[in-house]
Amino acid sequence: MSAVVSLTNVHKRFGAVKVLNGVSFEVGRGEVAAVIGQSGSGKSTALRCINALERIEEGTIEVCGHAVHDPKLDRRALRRDVGIVFQSYNLFPHLTAEQNIMLAPMCVKSLSKADARTLAQDVLARVGLAEKADHYPEQLSGGQQQRVAIARSLAMQPKLMLFDEVTSALDPQLTGEVLKVMEDLARGGMTMILVTHEMSFARKVATKVVYMHRGTVWETGPGAMLDDPQTPELRKFVGGEM
Amino acid sequence: MPTFTIVHLEYLSWAALWTIGLSAIAFLGGGLLGFAMALARISPNRWVRNAAAVYIQIIQGTPLLILLFLIYFGVAILGFNRVPAILAAGVGLTIYASGFLAEIWRGCIESVPKTQWEAAECLAMTRWQRMTRVILPQAVKIATPSTVGFMVQIVKNTSLASVVGFIELSQAGKVINNSIFEPFKIFVIVAIFYFAICFPLSTWSRSLERKLNVGRR
C-alpha cells in the first residue's frame, strides 16, 4: 500500500519554542487518521505542515507525490490534491454558500459557471444543505457553515482531506451533524487526517490513531488502541477525556 | 527678472501666520456653533432636530467656495460696502466648520452606549446633568482624534479665503507669482508651509486615535 502522506523526522519551531520534535507517521490511501493529544502537543501544527501552511526546518513530508519540504514546492499543485477544513470555517462572508463553493473550481480549474454550479449543488447535497445554496454565511448556523466549508473543499475533488479541530467551535448538538458528514466521507473511501478532541468519533471512524505528546508521536495504532493504551501518558489522556 | 528672495519668504511667513489665525477663528467659531448644532441634532424636540439636520445637509452639500461667495456678496447686500476680508473669510469658514463638526460630534455623543444614559437617568439626574456629567466627558475622549483630524481640513480650506481677498498663504503665493512668475517654485514652497502646519496635526490625530483604540480594547 503506497502512502498518501508520509512524515519523516519533521522538526518545527516557533521562535524558541520547539513545536515538532521529530514527527514521523504515514497515512495510506483510504485511511482515516485521527491525530489526538493535549493542546500544545503540536497536532495542529503537524496538520498545517502537511498543507505547507508552515515551513519545516528538518525532515521530509511527502503528500500525494508532492515533496512538501522542498522549498521549490508548487503549492498550487499541492492544494489541488489536498483539501482543508478549519476550526473557524473561514467561509467568504460576501459570497453565498453556493458561490463560496463555485469560486475555486472556476478560478483554479477553469470550470464554466454552469458546471461549477452543478458541482456546487452536488456537493451541497452531499453535506445535506442543498436548500441553503443561496444563503450567506451569516444566515447559517455554525454547524451549517462548517458543512458548507467541507463542501467547498470537496468540490475541488481532493485526494486527501485535512480537518483541523472542525467541531471545536460548535455546540454539542451542532457537532453531531458535522461528524455525520465526515463519517459519510470516510465511508466513501476518502483519505482523511483529522485533528480532533472527539474520542468517540476517533474510536468509531478512525482506522489509525496518532497520539502526539510534546511534539512527537508518542503512540500510534488502530482505533482500538484507545481502549488499550500502552503508555501512561495516553492512558492519562484517554482517562481525562472520559 | 526678479527671483525668489528672502523677502518673499518673509512675506510667506507672515501669510502663514494669517493662515493659522484664520484657522483658529474658524475652529473656535465653528466649534461653538457646531457644538450647538450637535446638541440640536439630538434634541428631544423634533423640529429643532430637523432644522439642525437641514442646516448640516446644506453646509455639507455645497462647496465652501460657493459659501464664501455668498457671504461676500451677501454682506454687501446688507448695505456694508467694504467688507473686511477677514470678516467674510472668518464667517464663511466658521459656518463651514460648524456643519462638519456638528456631524462629527453628534456621532461621538451617540456612540456613548445607551446604557450610560439609562444609568444616569436611574440616578435621577436631569437631562442637563446627564449630558454634562456623564455623556460629554466620555464623548470628548472619543471625539478628540477626529476633531484634530478635522483641524487639518480647516487649515487646508483657509486657502479658499483668497477668493474674498484675504491674504493668507495661497493668496500670498499668487501675489508673489504676479511679480516674479516662478509658479512652480513658489507653490512648492507654499505647499511646504501648509505641510509644516498640517502634518503635525495629522500625526497627533493618528496617535490619539491609536491610544483611543488601545483604551477601548
Binding site: 478549519f86 460576501h94 | 452639500g61
Partner: protein, 227 residues
C-alpha cells in the same frame, strides 16, 4: 434692507447653468473613476509592496493629505507648464483631482484591506487560488464593500471640491457662475442658484452611489447588514 432680489434676470442663462451642471458631473465622474483606480492600486502597493514601494506611496498620501487642493491644482497647472508642456485647464483639473482623491481612496481602501482576516487569505490559499485571484475575490471585493460608505462620502466631497478648479478657469459649474455673475451683476442670486444646484448634485451623486452599491453588493441588498 433695500436690496431687491431678481432671479428672473438669470432665467435667460438656464442653458449655461445646465451646461455647468453637466460639466461638473463629467469632471467628477472621470476624476472618481480614475482616482478610485489609482487609490486602489496604491492601497494594494501599500499593503503588499516592497518596502520601497510602500515608502513612496506613504509619502504621496501624506503630502496630498496635508496640503490644500487649491495649491495642488496650481502646482499641476503651472508646474507642468514650466516643463514646457502646456495643458488645458480641464486636463490639469482632472489630473489634480485624480492625484488628490487617489490619496484619500488609498487610505480608505487600505483600512478595508486591513480589516480582512488573515484566515480568509489562508482559506483562499488552501483552495489553490492564485495571488491575483485571492486579491480580487477574497480581499478587494469584501474590503471595498466594507468601506463603500466612506468612499461615497469622499466622492461627494470630491464633486463639491471640483468647484475649486474654477480657480484655473476649468470649465465647470462654478466657472460658469463666475461668468454669469459678471455678465448680470446679480452675484448673490447667481451663487444662490449655483449653491442649490450643488446641493441637488450632491444628493444625486449620493443616490447614484447608493444605486450602484445595490447592484454591486448583492449581499448587502438582500440582508442589509454591514459586512
Amino acid at each position: 434692507m433695500s436690496y431687491r432680489f431678481d432671479f428672473l434676470a438669470l432665467l435667460p442663462y438656464w442653458r449655461e447653468f445646465a451646461l455647468g451642471v453637466w460639466l461638473t458631473l463629467q469632471l467628477s465622474a472621470v476624476a472618481t473613476v480614475l482616482g478610485f483606480a489609482l487609490g486602489t492600486l496604491c492601497a494594494i502597493g501599500r499593503a503588499d509592496g516592497s518596502p520601497w514601494v510602500r515608502a513612496v506611496i506613504a509619502t504621496y498620501v501624506e503630502v496630498i493629505r496635508n496640503t490644500p487642493l487649491l495649491v495642488q491644482i496650481f502646482l499641476v497647472y503651472f508646474g507642468i507648464a514650466t516643463l514646457g508642456i502646456h495643458l488645458s485647464a480641464n486636463f490639469a483639473a482632472v489630473a489634480a483631482l485624480v492625484v488628490n482623491v487617489g490619496a484619500y481612496t488609498c487610505e480608505i481602501v487600505r483600512a478595508g484591506i486591513e480589516s480582512i482576516h488573515k484566515a480568509q487569505l489562508e482559506a483562499a490559499e488552501c483552495l489553490g487560488l492564485s495571488r491575483v485571484q485571492t486579491y480580487w475575490h477574497v480581499i478587494l471585493r469584501p474590503a471595498i464593500e466594507r468601506v463603500y460608505p466612506a468612499l461615497t462620502s469622499q466622492y461627494v466631497l470630491l464633486m463639491l471640491a471640483s468647484s475649486i478648479t474654477s480657480q484655473i478657469s476649468a470649465e465647470e459649474l462654478t466657472a460658469v457662475a463666475n461668468r454669469i455673475q459678471s455678465d448680470t451683476f446679480r452675484s448673490f442670486e447667481t451663487y444662490i442658484v449655483v449653491g442649490v444646484l450643488y446641493l441637488a448634485l450632491s444628493m444625486v451623486v449620493r443616490l447614484g452611489f447608493m444605486g450602484f452599491g445595490l447592484v454591486a453588493f448583492v449581499r448587502r441588498r438582500k440582508l442589509g447588514t454591514p459586512l
